[in-house]
Every structure is written in structure tokens, then in C-alpha cells.
Amino acid sequence: MKNDDVQAQGMGYLESVPRRVVTLYLPLGVFLFVLLFPFYWMGTTSLKPNAELLSRAGNPFWVAAPTLEHFRHLVFETPYPDWMWNTVIVSVVSTFFSLAASVFAAYAIERLRFRGSRQVGLCIFLAYLVPPSILFIPLAAIVYKLAIFDTRWALILTYPTFLIPFCTWLLMGYFRTIPYELEECALIDGATRWQILVKIILPLAVPGLISAGIFAFTLSWNEFIYALTFVSSSEVKTVPVGVVTELVEGDVYHWGALMAGALLGSLPVAVMYSFFVEYYVSGMTGAVKE
């Protein structure tokens, strides 16, 4: 993005203004509208009183009498705060655990020259491609056996199965960019492997660690199928699962509360994301390149 100013000149001046509007701003506007509309809709729905929600009269795009009733209901009359807390704990713990494991794994694969390290690296990548919807059944069997079914541990221990491969893959890319010479210097000065890792590699890999951390946090916050399968009582559910399974009662859908729940549940990741957009994007595109 840094050399934007240079690139921005490009051949842009060859275009006339009307042509630019039709080929660029119009389609872009449509894209943005479609991509953002569901969020706007979530927001307005969560503010509408029930009477307004269930009437076809009036303009549905506007809220005639905004109310915070749905949010109040959500926070004080449902276990929503518990779910939020669970999600935070599970995401944070599993992210830290995965990051720690990934640092060792990535460093070992990248820098300790052992036979087959490339193959191990490839396997890590393939492991990332194994989707949770294939793994959840055997993992459910394991979770039953370990007697951690329906506890937070069930989630904290299973999330790393998709977090570790991803983080390791990302960090491998980062470690590769750190020059070997730095390590060699440290080795000559008598540093141990551990010291090299902690004092040289990790400080240099901070951007990579942040990328991996943010990405892992979002992934575990958004995780659905494991949380749905391995947990059944309300107190240990995560936000996505709780909203989907508990706020829907029979045939009566509390749309306002549902939307409020969806909005609140999306907010933390959206806020995190907005602070670390660059890291997030570099993490995502870094994982795809190679």
C-alpha cells in the first residue's frame, strides 16, 4: 500500500469522469450495498419494537419508534452474558495455547534442520485443509471418552486442531523472512537455541504473531460446529451456538432479540478487526500465498 501514490497515477487520467462513474463507482456502490445490507438490517431489526416488526405497513427500512427492549431482554432475561463470557474464555485460552505450540512447531520446522522437515511442513498445510465438518464426529467420540463432554475444556482442547495448523503455517512464512545470519551470530556468541528463539526470533516476528493471534481469535470466536456438538448445557455454550439454539423457541421467533444477539456477538470481532485490519489482511493473504 505504501507506493500507492506512485501507482495511483497509472493510466487513470485516460478515463473520462462519466465513464469512471459507470465502470467504477456504480458497481462498487452496488457491491457495498449488498455486502453491508444484512448488517444494517440486523441493526434496524434489533431496535424495532415487536409491533413494528410484525406489521407490513410502513417503511421497513426505517425505525419509527426505536427501543432498546430487545437488548434489555437479552442481557437480563437470557443467559446471553454467560455465553459471551464462555466465548471470550474459550477463544482467548485456545488462541494462546495454539500460538505457543505453533511458535515451537514453526521454528522447529523452519530452522532445525532435520530430515523430512519439508514434508512435515506440507502435512501441516494439508492439516489446515481438513475441514471441521469431517473431524467433528471422531472428535466427539474422543471428547466422550475423555469425559470432558459439555465442559469448556471440550472446546479449548479441540479448537487447536484447526488453529495450530493455521498459525504454524503463517509463522513458518514469517520465520523464513528472518535472516539466518542473525541466528548464526547469536550461536557464535554462545546463545542456546532457547535464547535465540526468545531473544531474537520472537521480537522480530511480532507482526506475524499479531496476525496469527488475531486470526486465531476470530476463527475460534466464529467456530460453530464443534461448539454445537461438544456442548449441550446452556451455561457452557458460546455466543453463536447459544443464539441459534436457545433464542429460537418453538415457532415463535423473537426476531428482535435474535438480531440484537447477532449484533452483539459480531461486535467484538468487528472491533478487534477494525483495529488490526492490516495484520488481518496480511495474515489472510499470507496464508493463501506460497
Partner: protein
């Protein structure tokens, strides 16, 4: 530090192996299974619902991937142009991808509501239809509706990854092509596309994989209904294994997905790589 790597492998491959093994047993929730050979698979082949779910999955994946690719590439090209607030747009575009899918799926569910759908409202006011569309009640409507939701979620990912690829292409190549008299289409076809092919291959492999094994959207919006017409293999295996309790059958169904995934990976990866190589070799 080596143990960390080894531990990882064991931790990951064991469930996969166990999953395959479970596919050959009659395990139930809370009860170990016994080897039953290929009985589960035989049963699934004869099961109309399972066959329907295979069709649905293929249909879902193919249609959604084609649209995601086309729209994603278009959006990436738009974002790659000279724009004010470029990084802001880029950040906003990615939002659908980062919010929890289960939660945005709820928004779609509400938008597809048979009685109060806002889409129907707009179409009605515009005079295109005379009564509310039953988005999720009719098999084909439901299929297309969930596909639309999936495209909505997937386009940002494709677009942002392709944008990263586009930004590595030097603008001087376009200037050179323009000086040689290339039309915009030719510039796209002979400069952008060949240089973008490798990243397209990887991005689409990811996209196809995650669409094929999609679970959340379907589970939240339709739960496989109406009449199993939107059941994907992932949702069906969840229903059979967890809700229905027959782990073996669900595992067999999940195992059946693996060959398709491998085929998708090999096809898009090697197919497109060879294409890139051929194009490179032509010069």
C-alpha cells in the same frame, strides 16, 4: 522443539483415522462400535436422502464457487483501481467474512422470512411480484437462497486475496500493453489473468473446499429442509451422527466427502498450475 511437531501430527491424524474407522463400525453415542465392514456405505448408497445430499452439495459448491469467483474477481479489479479511501473500502468489504457466520446467517434467515421478508417487500413495491416469495419453503427457492447467502459470505475472501495478487502486478506492464494498442479487455486477458493464475488456483481451492464442507449456513437457515432439499453432506452427517445418534453412519458420510475434497484439490491445483506453466512456456 521437535516433540511439539510430532505431538501435533499425532493429535491431528488420530481423529482423522478414527473417523475413517468409525465409518466402518456401528458405533452409537456412548457405545463403542463393532466392525461392520462396508455396511454403512452400502446403506448410504441406497439411501435417497444421502444421494440427494450429494447432489445438493455438488450443486451448491459449483454454483456458489462460480459466482464467488466471478464477483470476487470483479470486486478485486474495482478495488485495485485508483480510489479515494481505498483501505477503508477494503476494510469494509471484508466485514461479511469476519463476523461469525452463524450470526450473519440469522440475519439472512430473517431476510428470507416468508411473511416479513424485506426482499419481498421491495420487489412487491417495485411491482415485480404480487405476493410474498416463499424463499425457504420451496426446494429450489431454498437452494438458491442459501447459495446466495454463501456467495455473500465468500465474495469478500476471494476479492481480498485476489486484490493482494493484483497489487503485485506492476503497472508498467499495463502501460506497455496500452502503448502496443491493447484494448482494456486484452490487457485483462493477456496481462492480468496469466499473472493471477497461480493465486486464483490457491484461492479457489480454499473456496471450493470450504463451500463443499459448509455446515453453519445450512444448519442455521434451513436445517436441511424443506424435504431435505438443502441438506449438504456435512449437515446430514451431523443429523445422523449427533441428533440421530448413529456415529458410524455419520462418520461414513463424512468419510465419503474426503475423495471429493482430494479430487477438488488435485484438480484445481495441478490443473491450473499446468495451465500457468503452459502459458509461461509459450513465450
Amino acid at each position: 522443539m521437535l516433540p511439539a511437531g510430532v505431538l501435533l501430527l499425532v493429535f491431528l491424524t488420530y481423529p482423522l483415522g478414527l473417523g475413517t474407522w468409525l465409518g466402518f463400525t456401528d458405533a452409537k453415542v456412548g457405545r463403542d462400535g463393532h466392525w461392520v465392514g462396508i455396511e454403512n456405505f452400502q446403506y448410504l448408497v441406497g439411501d435417497a436422502v444421502a444421494r440427494l445430499s450429494l447432489f445438493n452439495t455438488l450443486f451448491y459448491t459449483i454454483v456458489a464457487s462460480v459466482f464467488k469467483f466471478a464477483l470476487g474477481l470483479w470486486l478485486a479489479l474495482l478495488l485495485n483501481r485508483n480510489l479515494p479511501f481505498k483501505s477503508f473500502f477494503r476494510a469494509v468489504v471484508l466485514l461479511p467474512f469476519i463476523v461469525p457466520t452463524a450470526l450473519s446467517a440469522i440475519a439472512f434467515w430473517w431476510m428470507y422470512d416468508a411473511q416479513f421478508s424485506v426482499i419481498s417487500w421491495v420487489l412487491m413495491k417495485a411491482g415485480f411480484i404480487d405476493r410474498y416469495v416463499d424463499f425457504l419453503g420451496d426446494p429450489w427457492n431454498a437452494r438458491l437462497s442459501v447459495i446466495a447467502a454463501n456467495i455473500w459470505r465468500g465474495v469478500p475472501f476471494v476479492a481480498i486475496c485476489l486484490l493482494a495478487g493484483l497489487q503485485t502486478i506492476s503497472p508498467s506492464l499495463y502501460e506497455a500493453a496500452a502503448l502496443d494498442g491493447a484494448t482494456p479487455w486484452q490487457r485483462f486477458r493477456y496481462v492480468t489473468l496469466p499473472l493471477l493464475t497461480p493465486i486464483i488456483a490457491v484461492v479457489m481451492t480454499f473456496s471450493v473446499l470450504f463451500t463443499f464442507t459448509d455446515f453453519q449456513l445450512i444448519y442455521v437457515i434451513t436445517r436441511g429442509g424443506p424435504l431435505n432439499s438443502t441438506h449438504l453432506m456435512a449437515t446430514l452427517s451431523f443429523q445422523r451422527a449427533i441428533s440421530g445418534g448413529s456415529l458410524g453412519e455419520g462418520a461414513a458420510l463424512a468419510t465419503l466427502m474426503v475423495p471429493f475434497l482430494l479430487a477438488a484439490i488435485l484438480f484445481s491445483y495441478f490443473g491450473l498450475q499446468r495451465r500457468a506453466w503452459q502459458q509461461g512456456a509459450k513465450d
